[in-house]
């Protein structure tokens, strides 16, 4: 049963990657996938392939993260909005944009922004876990919903 699912999803992954390479704003004919030429080679090489690989990698890591979170907090309903991870990350991302005030070059900032967001996402998740340890699963949920309230209010990404 597990083997069948793996096989099925692998086939689905293969076809979705293929479809993502062919369809888009510019239609890339399937023949151009085998023998890329002219604009098609540029589009595939510079835009489509990096995007598809990044999308697959990000999807995989998100799925693993979700599973880890649910195991870690022993709750199958856990998601990053409940645990405060998303709010912490949003706060970090917004904070990094405020660093523009220190005249960081923009090119440098776009690479720094995800790191700062990650650090804050990690921090807020750890606080949530600490709250959960002390008060159990209900305290955890309430604590995680309160947590974003202490970060600067109403970043466009915060869930509530």
């Amino acid at each position: 049963m597990k083997k069948t699912w793996t096989l099925l999803l692998s086939v689905l992954l293969f076809f979705s990657i293929l479809a993502a390479l062919i369809f888009g704003e510019v239609y890339v004919p399937p023949s151009a996938l085998l023998h890329p030429h002219g604009v098609y080679s540029v589009i595939l090489e510079r835009i489509r392939i990096p995007t598809v690989l990044a999308a697959a990698a990000i999807g995989t890591s998100l799925a693993v993260c979700g599973a880890v979170m649910q195991m870690l907090l022993r709750n199958p309903l856990m998601d990053p909005y409940v645990s405060g991870t998303a709010s912490g990350g949003a706060f970090g991302a917004v904070l990094s944009y405020f660093l523009l005030a220190f005249n960081l070059p923009f090119a440098y900032l776009v690479y720094v922004s995800p790191l700062i967001a990650f650090a804050f996402a990690l921090l807020s998740t750890l606080i949530t876990i600490a709250v959960g340890r002390r008060t159990g699963v209900y305290g955890l949920v309430v604590g995680a919903w309160l947590l974003p309230s202490f970060s600067p209010r109403r970043s466009p990404y915060s869930p509530h």
Partner: protein
């Protein structure tokens, strides 16, 4: 005794009747005098008013007397009104109108104590009412749903739709309409002639492919102008061909379309500042395969006067043809600044 009391009562009735009669007579005379006065006022003023003109929203707007206090809330309208010689009648303008006149060193066309409304999405209705304007002029696209509020505040409003003009004829129609409303028909004809003379002297034929970037998003998708837009008309008149003319309106496209379009020239509007604009263009995936980039034919227009000429369809837009034409011919600097446009094109707003 009895007879006397009757006599007194009768006297009282007569007195009362007399008082009533006097009040009625005074009232009637007052009404007559007032009426005569207004009639006299009308006949001493121009015979042009009252005039009824249909505005862009399809309403018939009637002005009963010559409007002496005008509020203009859009740069495209302010251009026209000042050009028609109504500058001194403007009691209030929006911030961007004032900014435009400041770029042109033409703020002296307005009264010295003109009220400038600070930039905001919603109009400052109480501020407008306080100016007691005879008429408020605005763009239909800018006023949106606030038009109801302006009408409810008792303001006479007149809307134009030049911001959605697809070509110069639509702008000229808007000028003619405003000329009709403000008794400036001859000036409107002169202004339209002025525009046409310049369009004919600036326009040129050519087939240089141009990509016009209105705005580049952080993910490198960008807004551009499609075939039915004013910008497309300007590109064609200045000897260019819009590579995205297969689209309509203002679509968001990805760098893929830019690679396929492979324009000979890229003209971009400044995003926040020049270095960020260049950063966003230079980091577009696949830009190295676009001939405009490899041949160093990327032009950035600064966000003040140069983009005003393209984004605010009005009389001054005729200079946009000349500006884009110079870029297409390769005679413009890669950063088309306000100062360059002022000195090179000698942008002036005619006042008739």
């Amino acid at each position: 005794m009895y007879g006397l009391s009757i006599h007194v009562a009768m006297n009282r009735t007569i007195l009362l009747a007399a008082v009533v009669a006097i009040i009625v007579v005074i009232g009637v005379v007052a009404v007559l005098v007032y009426r005569n006065e207004t009639v006299v006022q009308k006949s001493t003023g121009s015979t042009y008013y009252p005039v009824t003109v249909r505005d862009a929203s399809g309403r018939n707007v009637t002005l009963y007397t010559s409007p002496s206090r005008i509020v203009s809330l859009a740069p495209s309208d302010t251009q026209v009104l000042v050009s028609l010689g109504l500058g001194k009648e403007l009691v209030g303008v929006d911030y961007y109108s004032y900014l435009l006149l400041k770029y042109l060193n033409a703020t002296s066309d307005l009264p010295q104590n003109v009220t400038v409304f600070s930039p905001s999405i919603s109009p400052n209705i109480s501020g407008i009412v306080a100016l007691r304007p005879s008429v408020v002029v605005d763009e239909l696209g800018l006023i949106g749903d606030y038009s109801t509020q302006l009408s409810e505040a008792g303001l006479t409003t007149f809307y134009t739709n030049a911001d959605y003009a697809g070509n110069y004829t639509a702008i000229e129609e808007s000028i003619t309409t405003l000329g009709k409303l403000f008794d400036r028909n001859t000036q409107a004809v002169e202004l339209v002639n002025w525009m046409n003379t310049r369009i004919h002297s600036y326009e040129s034929q050519g087939d240089t492919s141009v990509a016009y970037l209105l705005w580049v998003n952080p993910d490198h998708t960008f807004y551009t102008a499609g075939s039915n837009t004013f910008i497309n008309t300007i590109l064609n008149l200045s000897g260019g061909v819009n590579v995205f003319s297969n689209t309509t309106g203002y679509p968001v496209l990805s760098p893929e379309s830019l690679i396929v379009g492979n324009p000979q020239i890229i003209i971009a509007q400044e995003l926040t500042n020049l270095s960020y604009t260049l950063y966003m263009i230079n980091t577009m995936p696949g830009i190295a395969n676009v001939s405009a980039y490899t041949n160093h034919r990327v032009y950035v227009m600064s966000q003040n006067l140069p983009t005003f000429l393209l984004d605010e369809p009005g009389p001054l837009s005729v200079y946009a043809i000349q500006m884009i034409n110079l870029a297409i011919k390769g005679d413009a600097p890669s950063y088309i600044s306000s100062a360059w446009v002022e000195s090179e094109l000698n942008v002036t707003l005619p006042v008739f």
